[in-house]
Subunit: 142 residues, 2 copies
DNA sequence: CTTGAACCTGTAGTTACTACAGGTCCCATC
DNA sequence: GATGGGACCTGTAGTAACTACAGGTTCAAG
């Protein structure tokens, strides 16, 4: 019922952060999460700082940042020095990528729904979808 | 200047279809493209049917179909029997996936631009973006 | 007949994990 | 103090769809 906790096991950390155990170990291996202390029997023991860090990583992943981008963000955060505008640069770059991806998918969606609409679903020997797939790109996408 | 050609090399096929050479060999290895004939020295020799098939695969990839989906499409096309509605099913399923992905990215975009807009880019010690990343998901995305 | 470009096979690397296999540890209960 | 079974450990291999070599062979023009 208080804020204290000494020694969070990997299972507990996993439940608190909703990051699965293998992923936690993976993040440690690639250096996104600092190596925690260990018990006598080599079991990992985490503290509150690990919870915060892993939450940060998880949230960043949810927002679509790559692990490399997260690594950059963490460096900026750890650097401490006036990094807000740098963080903003990384974020805006990512936002731009997301918008591009949306645009690509919307073009795709248009082409695809156009192609699909040509087909009436009968048992036609020459399916218009199949014909479209045999033709080297000329449609609406570009 | 005519329609005849006997023996297309892998390099030619690559240029005609704009699929790179390693990818062509990869498609052969995983069974998407039938193994072609060979010269005495074991160089691959393709014919017009290979051009058509590879064009189909490439176009399908451009439209975002996975290799497994393309495999299914090819089975249907090869089956020959009244497969148009089956093709349509695969296509509509894919279209649905694309639309879902667009929706996911749009939600992401909203959250991300909201978070980014909080930051005025100064040298603030407590960056609002960083703060948002330390907080376990509560925002607009759901 | 000699280059050198094109081709060959096979393996390893990429992203972000997940899924084992085969073992060890912790701790609650008896 | 013994025991049992869940949680933990390391390390490797698999996923999608390629790309990039390394190290060797073949083709075709001159």
């Amino acid at each position: 019922m208080d804020g204290r906790q000494q020694g969070i096991s990997i299972g507990d950390l996993s439940m608190r952060t909703e990051v699965n155990i293998e992923t936690i170990r993976y993040y440690e291996k690639i250096g996104l999460l600092p190596a925690p202390g260990r018990t006598g029997g080599r079991h990992r023991v985490y503290g509150p700082a690990h919870v915060a860090r892993l939450t940060f990583v998880r949230r960043s992943r949810e927002l679509g940042f790559s692990l490399e981008e997260i690594r950059s963000l963490l460096r900026l955060v750890d650097g401490g020095h006036s990094s807000c505008s740098d963080v903003q640069i990384v974020t805006l770059k990512h936002l731009d990528d997301v918008r591009k991806k949306i645009g690509d998918l919307q073009r795709l969606e248009r082409t695809l729904s156009e192609v699909a609409s040509r087909c009436q679903g009968g048992s036609v020997p020459d399916c218009p979808i199949v014909e479209a797939l045999y033709a080297p790109a000329q449609g609406a996408e570009a």
